[in-house]
Symmetry: C2
Subunit: 267 residues, 2 copies
């Protein structure tokens, strides 16, 4: 088991862990879905800036660090990106190991470019540690590859309801789409997707509160699903023929807990 440093007692530095800022992907939420590299750097962090979206048990990895919550959560207060950038730059002059812990993968729809630009402008050394992006964690929980040799050999990840052009053999996964479900469906139907194209939706991926649903694009358009979601929980929307079997097992809106609650705690 990973040794977690007790509160306020500093663990020894990893040999060769350079001073600087580490942008680390926390993964989808469950504390043990961070990478080993990410967890080891967190254990050595002096200060950690974390997103509001990250499950708090994730912070057990860095119990000896100063913790600063930043970032956004649907509908509540958020630090502006500009202010986060400034905090990172300022912290780098005061602390040897600064971590910016971002939900999912730090480079997928995470505004990392702005943080990278700020660090480069200030000549601060930084490294990036990838994380499990939500689309892939949701696929693992669903036990459904987003691509298969027969049905789809292309996967598109997007935040834009209007940007997935119709194409045979294609799966699309939408991030941050909780408030745009009808718009996603309407756009895809307009582009030629059939009304009975299967859709899977998953809320709070990998967390104890995880729930998944399946429906058709037509049902998604008419809002039949929206009432089933909890407020403020992130939802990932998966569209494509590969999900057809899930219409039998997850329809109508069967709630499905994730399988790994026993591994949720970091320690």
């Amino acid at each position: 088991m990973e040794q977690i440093a007790p509160l306020r007692v500093r663990a020894p530095k990893l040999d060769g862990l350079a001073s600087g800022v580490y942008l680390i992907g926390a993964g989808p939420g469950a504390a043990d879905l961070i990478t080993v590299r990410g967890s080891r750097i967190l254990a050595q962090a002096d200060i950690v800036f974390y997103d509001a979206l990250i499950d708090l048990s994730m912070l057990d990895w860095c119990s000896s660090a100063k913790l600063v919550q930043v970032g956004k959560r649907c509908g509540s207060h958020s630090s502006s990106q500009h202010f986060i950038n400034k905090q990172l730059v300022d912290a780098a002059s005061k602390y040897p190991v600064v971590v910016r812990l971002k939900g999912g993968d730090p480079l997928i729809f995470g505004r990392a470019q702005e943080e990278i630009d700020a660090l480069e402008k200030a000549n601060i050394p930084y490294e990036i540690v990838p994380g499990i992006t939500t689309a892939l964690a949701a696929s693992a929980e669903l036990k459904q590859p987003p691509t298969t040799r027969e049905l789809s050999r292309t996967l598109t990840l997007t935040t834009l309801p209007g940007r997935c052009a119709h194409e045979d053999y294609k799966t699309a996964i939408y991030y941050m789409a909780r408030d745009q479900l009808s718009e996603v469906a309407t756009t895809l139907l307009t582009q030629g997707y059939s009304a009975n194209t299967p859709v899977c939706l998953m809320e709070s991926v990998s967390l104890p509160a995880q729930r998944s649903f399946a429906c058709t694009l037509d049902q998604l358009r008419f809002g039949d699903v929206h009432d089933h979601f909890l407020d403020k929980q992130p939802v990932v929307v998966m569209v494509g023929e590969v999900y057809r079997k899930k219409l039998q097992t997850l329809f109508p809106f069967i709630e499905s807990q994730n399988h790994f609650n026993l591994f949720q705690k970091a320690s």
Copy 2:
């Protein structure tokens, strides 16, 4: 540090780790880019079926397990998928914890559907643990988000040179494209991409042998890059406007080692 069980001495089982088959994503190659969950299950594995592509230091996580190499490597012998499926099913009747360790994420271009179908048909319980897919590990090494708010809000992952339709604001990342570089370039140029669209290529992502290159689509078409690659190493190809700055720092074909050699070893 993670405790690795010494050779042939069985570590105690994790509480509640059910018998069955675990499809685990090994990540791109570096041993510490597996998830904590994946590393913990590996430490409890009785038998591990691993891809030829996985860096061997990854197997330090499961030094007490029986190890069976399966899977393919460019140009050399490969186990047929049908035979791998049969091995998994057979092993599940003999060993409590069976691991299928797959490079990258197990569900991205990994033929996992066939293994899942075989396990379900045989009524064998199984779980899937996601892994860092190569596209995101390469992005972290490049320090370049594949999507940015200004240039691209859509990322397409594919194995098909002909399947990325032209669209504004889109980044495409090709897997397993080492032998199709000219075909990828020609297709994209035909679809309207401009000849000076930037391309980044990365070989042996996250491993000590990692190298990266940048060029334009035009150069890719004429094969200027191919001679720089090593035989049999996997290559990921990233295309899009977000990579324009890399033309200055990685062109012409500057070899760039990865930054994390100090973390390569699992123990």
